[in-house]
Symmetry: C2
Subunit: 168 residues, 2 copies
DNA sequence: GAATAATAGTTAGCCGGCTAATGCTAGGTC
DNA sequence: GACCTAGCATTAGCCGGCTAACTATTATTC
């Protein structure tokens, strides 16, 4: 019964895998657990983030949500369409600005706040169950720095290259 | 130009976000960078893992690949179908066992080893560019432990519960 | 005021991930 | 040999993520 079916592609251990292999692995595991917990209340794996933002500010424009979620507009549009179809949110065009769509919670959506908050706490607990508070802080710090390195698109400025305008 | 549009749902900082929020964030950033680098050779974001396994053992059964990649059979089937269509791999039924499909590299697939290895190295370098070697080892260790906590499905054994046989 | 630019959303289509349901092959058991 | 079980792979369909291309509205600029 070969234990631990090896990590993606590196050796078998897990410890000796590259960080580039560990990140997708831990992310998938985390997403799977989140998904199975959220299924209890009828949500799919990423939908809690939308609701969490709406619990803090109910009528929010779709563009604002898109920015805060750090996703692309089409991704947000599809997610919101599903959440609307599921009855957790409502969408209506703004009267003040005909371009913006305002997203607000329905009663069902509001009712999820307590259970989802509980699930989110449980998830965080299981995620960090093997870490001391100091290690958790360390991990947070390391992940933050890695995120910054990954989003600092490209080389940090080789003298001679005419500062590319950050794509797009 | 509002810097750092906030992390998913927690505060604005990044440092003070929950680990459950940081994991998806860092994973998305990592995947996006990987995808843009791999696009250079005509690969999509997860396909390098398949090829990496095949470079180590070219005719490999689909079931083996599925297990090593730690994904579900349908996911593997679709990925392999695309890789086959793209001309990087070939699939044929095993003569010895009519159930198994053997996956092998084509010349195009084999030709990707050098460039993808280079890309993979660059990706890892940018991922860890802000970390000392000690911090990298620390991060690897922490991520490994978190992965184990996340995959150790459910409670770690409340005395009295008759050790559930790992679900499914 | 008309032309242009910037913003906001949508649609189509692709990729990776999953579950549920189906089919097919190989191994056991009686 | 017939039956049942286990293992391998596929199809259909959903979810989150993306790019490219498009529409519609508001804001600028001349």
């Amino acid at each position: 019964m070969t234990r631990s079916t090896s990590t993606s592609v590196d050796g078998g251990g897990l410890e000796d895998a590259s960080i580039s292999s560990l990140i997708p692995t831990v992310s998938k595991a985390h997403r799977n657990l989140a998904g199975s917990l959220l299924a209890e209340v009828g949500l799919a794996a990423g939908q809690q983030f939308v609701l969490m933002l709406l619990w803090k500010a109910s009528p929010t424009s779709q563009a604002d949500l898109t920015r805060q979620l750090m996703i692309e507009p089409p991704t947000a549009a599809k997610m919101l369409a599903r959440l609307e179809k599921a009855g957790f949110i409502e969408r209506r065009r703004s009267a003040a600005d005909g371009r913006v769509v305002l997203v607000s919670l329905t009663e069902s959506g509001r009712a999820l706040e307590a259970p989802v908050t509980s699930i989110w706490t449980r998830l965080e607990e299981q995620t960090t169950s093997d870490l001391t508070p100091a290690e958790q802080a360390q991990l947070r710090h390391l992940l933050s720095r890695v995120t910054r390195s990954l989003t600092a698109d490209g080389d940090p400025g080789p003298p001679g290259a005419a500062a590319r305008p950050a794509a797009r």
